[in-house]
Symmetry: C2
Subunit: 303 residues, 2 copies
């Protein structure tokens, strides 16, 4: 299960990131079929390709790399997590949810293909995520496929992403305290970001302590991501974000900024990032540079 | 992998069916969580419990029983297939799809819980299906979990159920010939019914020839199910069906009845059922009574 490891200087992070984004893009293009009937494949590819920072795949790949994980499994896990993320965006943008028309600078899937096709494309992307984790050619050990399926299913389901979205829906106009807000985001965005790290770790032989520390790192990444998201929602414009800015405030949704104020929210993001770095250092990994750099990338991003 | 086999006289089919329906109901009630946040669990249980013929679970269980399959795996596979079926009904009933308000004699999920909650409940049910196939307690062999995940993912996705629904959407008002209509239904309903049989077979040590014959049996069950569905859509009333009757004709959707006429469609259903029985007989199973009876149950049903 131990693949080759290559030196990974922090200065090279931008290059590593661009390279891995290309690898993921190519793999997704190969695995999301164009030939599905009645434009379904077209809608699926539209939802998945040519956009996004690929943060979740990068977390999978960096974790697998740091631990010497199974490269083929890591790439499949990276793409599977991204498919779940992509389907959630398609459904989240629909009129009955956030009713958003702009995503990654393009019309959303339901605007481009109609609501019914968007619904089905999201559904098919979720199924495809699990299909990817169990290749028909036997190229992954069955134990690893099964473990990855479970980690992804739990993160995507009622105790994870879908449950968090339900809480989010129910929280419009409700005065959540910070603990309740964190609990919501731990499910809504945190579960899948954390699963990206734990799935990356599952492709390798991590010790139980390393698994726990990496899970803490992943949880901090998830929380930092959301706090920064809330900050950007009030400080950035739609063109920079590639999606509609200011929509949380417009929808009267509780955010870290509405709860704490802008400057304290930024300090809180910094503190959470520090915890992520500390958790990583406890792992004692030789090659954690890209994981450290990913934490900073999440915490310092402008879009 | 060989569990105990019990005698299964055909005369006892109704009793066997009622018993297994109770087992499935109990298992689903245990595995679909009530405590998911913000009423999501409630919507999921509403979509899944206390309704439905449980045809797909019965196919899984009868196939596993006939081959002496792993009982724990068979029950999980039975429930997983039913969760996929249930989620597809929830999404299919939504206003952007069939816009149906009545299902199994109750208001549909989006009528009862709102569209956003229905969307999320369907999404979470799909994730839960895969979670069920990989129990966290290690009670299933990983090879079997992985194999079941793959069979289910392929049947649910763009080459299966979701793809068939996309073709169905695109076929309104279009003059399909019988081959095109069968190709659509092979995906839309056939893939999951066939997967019920192949997943049941996967829990046991079926020979390649038995697997092929059982796949043919499953394909015939799928086709017969749809032809009878089309017949009932014009001959039964909504109260008997527990859903809106006559909706295919109202929606100008091609059906076997609109294509062939009522009496020829009935003859065709009979011929397909014969093929199902023949395929089963070729398997040379000692205990195929319930599988034969299930075929007749599908072909002769009144709702």
């Amino acid at each position: 299960m131990n693949g080759p490891q290559q030196p990974a200087p922090a200065a090279d992070f931008a290059g590593w990131r661009a390279h891995q984004q290309g690898v993921v893009e190519q793999a997704l293009s190969r695995w999301v079929p164009a030939d599905s009937p009645a434009r379904l494949g077209e809608a699926m590819r539209y939802a998945v390709l040519d956009g996004g920072k690929r943060l979740r795949p990068l977390l999978v790949l960096a974790t697998a790399e740091a631990l010497g994980g199974h490269p083929g499994a890591a790439l499949r896990a990276a793409c599977a997590v991204e498919l779940i993320h992509a389907y959630s965006l398609v459904h989240d943008d629909m009129p009955c949810m956030d009713n958003d028309v702009l995503r990654r600078g393009k019309p959303t899937v339901h605007v481009q293909f109609g609501e019914a096709q968007a619904l089905l494309a999201g559904d098919a992307l979720q199924a495809l995520a699990f299909e990817l984790l169990v290749p028909g050619d036997g190229s992954l050990p069955a134990e690893l496929s099964a473990r990855l399926c479970r980690l992804l299913a739990v993160a995507a389901g009622a105790d994870g992403m879908a449950g968090g979205q339900a809480v989010d829906l129910a929280s419009v106009g409700v005065a959540l305290d910070r603990a309740a807000l964190e609990a919501m985001h731990r499910r809504k965005t945190g579960a899948l970001l954390q699963a990206s790290v734990t799935m990356g770790a599952a492709t390798a032989a991590a010790t139980p302590q390393q698994q726990a520390d990496l899970a803490e790192y992943g949880a901090c990444i998830g929380l930092a991501f959301q706090v920064v998201d809330d900050i950007l929602d009030v400080t950035a414009d739609s063109a920079t974000l590639g999606k509609t800015a200011g929509k949380d405030a417009a929808a009267d949704k509780p955010t870290f900024v509405s709860l704490m104020g802008l400057a304290p929210a930024q300090s809180y993001a910094d503190a959470v990032l520090d915890r992520a770095h500390q958790a990583l250092r406890r792992c004692g990994l030789q090659q954690a540079d890209h994981l450290h750099a990913l934490a900073d990338w999440v915490g310092r991003r402008a879009s």
